[in-house]
């Protein structure tokens, strides 16, 4: 067991809202800001709806040569700005510390330069800016460089568990002592490559997604970012900050070793991740954490047949009485950002002692023994689980907490 890692500030931007507060407010009002079609051109006969971010992000332009970061990096910067501001830490003071940056992404590290490549194939001499932009947009490097930090940088590309793994990795860095503060989270943008890829795999839904529902027909892609400012308790004290917003109590991960795109049928890696996260935990008072202390579970809950069935199976085995929900019906599946956005939402739900209804759920699936909450649900408790599953058989879990609710 290790001491808890403090969350000093959170930034979040997604389709549900431009800030964490906006997002949670809109979820509790049951709003679903789904776009009928993607923001880019597509030739699919029936477009798949997506969850786009509406806020203009162009103020993060490069100062020279008119170059801009990829949208993914801009989303990450926006969330990082919010997180630092909320933490109340003076940026100059922050720069005197060893500040690491650990970000999850999928699109942000992929050379998805379709238009450039199409021109190249045709024998044209395409503008090199998309390639330069790709090189300049590594999410962790962008945030570290933009704010002038001088600690380790790591962009984690574990597909859809990247955001969860980034926060867990950052917590390990702090326990290890290699950083004073870490900005950790995830960022991803909507793009044609992932849009066409998920459609090709036949796991995108032409309807608003309905996680855990019997008639679910796949996921809706989304975009966004979340960043947590993490620090050890003594650094929070040294900086004379207010009470931490919350805590990263435990992190676990496990591999299915099974299939590239399908989860292990019995959720082998997910079970391992949850058990490891629990074993990793110490709560704020230094006590260990047991599964029965979890107030709720934020599931990965994408709305695909396989994911939800396996997640439901594991929940029925490990946490049969714990309320759970999916937020993908409000945010879409934001891929490498998902775990970070959901960690941020989980902490805010703990603060409010309430989780929103699992959007889109209608009909109990006979293959899943449990149902998510169907209305906004209050709870008592100060610890929750957020879990992520990913292509490649990656599974990751975070145990998050707040101080005892007064």
């Amino acid at each position: 067991m290790y001491p808890a890692v403090c969350v000093a500030g959170i930034g979040c931007i997604c389709a549900a809202g431009d800030t964490l507060q906006q997002a949670v407010d809109s979820m509790l009002r049951a709003e679903r800001h789904l776009g009928a079609a993607p923001i880019f051109a597509t030739t699919h006969a029936e477009p798949y709806p997506v969850f786009p971010v509406k806020k203009e992000l162009s103020h993060y332009a490069f100062s020279s040569a008119g170059m801009r970061y990829m949208r993914t990096a801009n989303l990450g910067l926006e969330a990082a700005h919010q997180a630092i501001e909320q933490s109340g830490i003076d940026i100059e003071q922050l720069r005197t510390l060893k500040v690491g940056v650990c970000m999850g992404t999928t699109v942000g590290s992929s050379m998805d330069v379709e238009a450039f490549y199409a021109d190249y194939r045709q024998g044209a001499t395409p503008d090199m800016r998309p390639i330069d932009c790709f090189y300049n947009s590594n999410p962790a490097a962008v945030i570290s460089t933009y704010f002038g930090f001088n600690g380790p940088q790591q962009t984690i590309v574990n597909a859809c568990s990247s955001g969860t793994d980034a926060i867990g990795t950052a917590a390990m860095w702090l326990r290890n002592g290699c950083c004073d503060v870490v900005l950790a989270g995830g960022a991803d943008e909507l793009c044609r490559t992932t849009y066409n890829g998920f459609a090709a795999l036949q796991i995108s839904s032409p309807q608003p997604c309905s996680p855990f529902s019997a008639e679910r027909s796949g996921l809706n892609l989304g975009e966004g970012a979340a960043v947590l400012v993490l620090a050890r308790a003594e650094v929070i004290k040294q900086l004379a900050l207010a009470q931490p917003y919350g805590y990263v109590l435990g992190y676990g991960s496990g591999s299915d070793g099974w299939h590239l795109t399908a989860p292990h049928p019995e959720g082998r890696g997910l079970q391992q991740a949850v058990h490891e996260a629990i074993a990793d935990c110490a709560d704020v008072s230094g006590r260990g954490v047991t599964l029965d202390r979890l107030a709720f579970v934020n599931t990965h809950g994408t709305g695909t047949k396989d994911n939800d069935r396996v997640e439901g199976l594991v929940l029925a085995q490990l946490l049969p009485k714990t309320p759970f929900h999916s937020t993908k019906g409000y945010t879409g599946h934001t891929l490498g950002a998902a775990g970070a956005i959901e960690a941020a939402l989980t902490l805010e739900f703990l603060q409010r002692q309430q989780i929103p209804a699992s959007a889109g759920f209608n009909v109990q699936d006979p293959a899943i023994a449990l149902s998510p909450v169907t209305s906004n649900t209050s709870f008592t408790g100060n610890i929750a689980l957020s879990e992520s599953l990913a292509f490649g058989g990656n599974n990751a879990a975070l145990i998050l907490g707040i101080a005892e609710a007064s």
């Binding site: 290790y2 597509t42 030739t43 699919h44 006969a45 999928t106 590290s109 992929s110 050379m111 379709e114 490549y117 199409a118 190249y120 194939r121 024998g123 001499t125 090199m128 090189y135 590594n138 962790a140 490097a141 460089t145 600690g151 380790p152 940088q153 790591q154 962009t155 984690i156 590309v157 574990n158 597909a159 793994d165 990795t169 390990m172 860095w173 326990r175 290890n176 002592g177 290699c178 044609r192 490559t193 066409n196 890829g197 459609a199 090709a200 795999l201 991960s253 496990g254 591999s255 299915d256 070793g257 299939h259 590239l260 082998r268 490891e276 990913a390 292509f391 490649g392 058989g393 990656n394």
Partner: protein, 376 residues
Amino acid sequence: MSTESIKIAIEGVGCVGGFGCGHTAFVSALQQGYAKAQLEEKVHPDGSAFLPALLADTSRLTDFVARRALRRIDHYARMALLGGYLALEDAGVPSSACEKLGVIVASGYGATTTTINFLDSVIDNGDSYASPTNFSNSVHNVAAAYLSMQLQALGPSLTVSQFELSICAALQSAVCWLEQGRVDKVLIGAVDERNALLNDYCWQRSAASDGANTQIAPFDYRRQSAIAGEGAAFLLLSRRDDNTSCGNTPYGYITGLDSGRCTPAQLAADSTAADVLVLGADGQLATADSYSRLAADLGEVLPLVSCAPCYGSLPTGQAFDLIAAALMLRDQCVYGVAAGSKQLVNSPLRTISALKFAPDGQFGQITLSSQAGVYA
């Protein structure tokens, strides 16, 4: 980075690249000072040319994985699989004993060719007929996933992409896993593949070389002499607690890990404790100035070498430098191409650092020692 009293030992190494397959082939190339490049035809209306490349042959992979299981696995993941299996074999760890192994893969670009193949399927066939196989095999963590599947390694798995500093970033997490007891062993490595779009076309557009290079000239800082490389370099790391004496003698221990931004002069001052400094200089003009300034400060103080002429220029080249350093510690012999006039024969070798610069001036430095010690 500081740790408590654990030692992080290098138990085995495995590599495949333009030099051949395995560390014996790598040592041969290091002793020779270079590996012979192949000529690959670049075909584009901008102009056709034959450009040199150091390419990896993964045919030995069938010694470890059934041919049938390799059907859908692309060249990128095959290189990683081969590197990983070779490291396990070198450490004497049977592939049937990997259930609790952690896996970390670092890559600068990921599965570039399969990503491009996916784009081909979209451009040729339309959005509705994109290739699902190419998409699922284009995700960055595909190599780690195949390693986990083939080895039934069910411990944590991580893929990191930080361009030139990828292996340094990945090691940061490996050290944490071992130190915090998440696993006892980590298979960590790096993989990148040559791709015609990136290595031939984009390189030529951004820093044209004359195509007549047959070898990288790492310490000629005035010209672009990079030759595209590809391959995989893996290490099996283990945690050895104090007073524990078990298994084979390790190649050495990882005793330092640092990254960030500082001036070459500051780095030079911090590097003098090493017996040898392996520079990641690989003929790329974009980083030549950083290496040049460091060499000016250190060239007369300690031996500087580059191993890049043996594996080529690729973002994760530092992983090969790490293996070269481990082999130097084992063999008590300095390998690679030397810079400066400092005498290379400097036995006994106790500490070797591998230093890599990114084009934006950031650095990653990894230090290996023959004796265990806490991190500096």
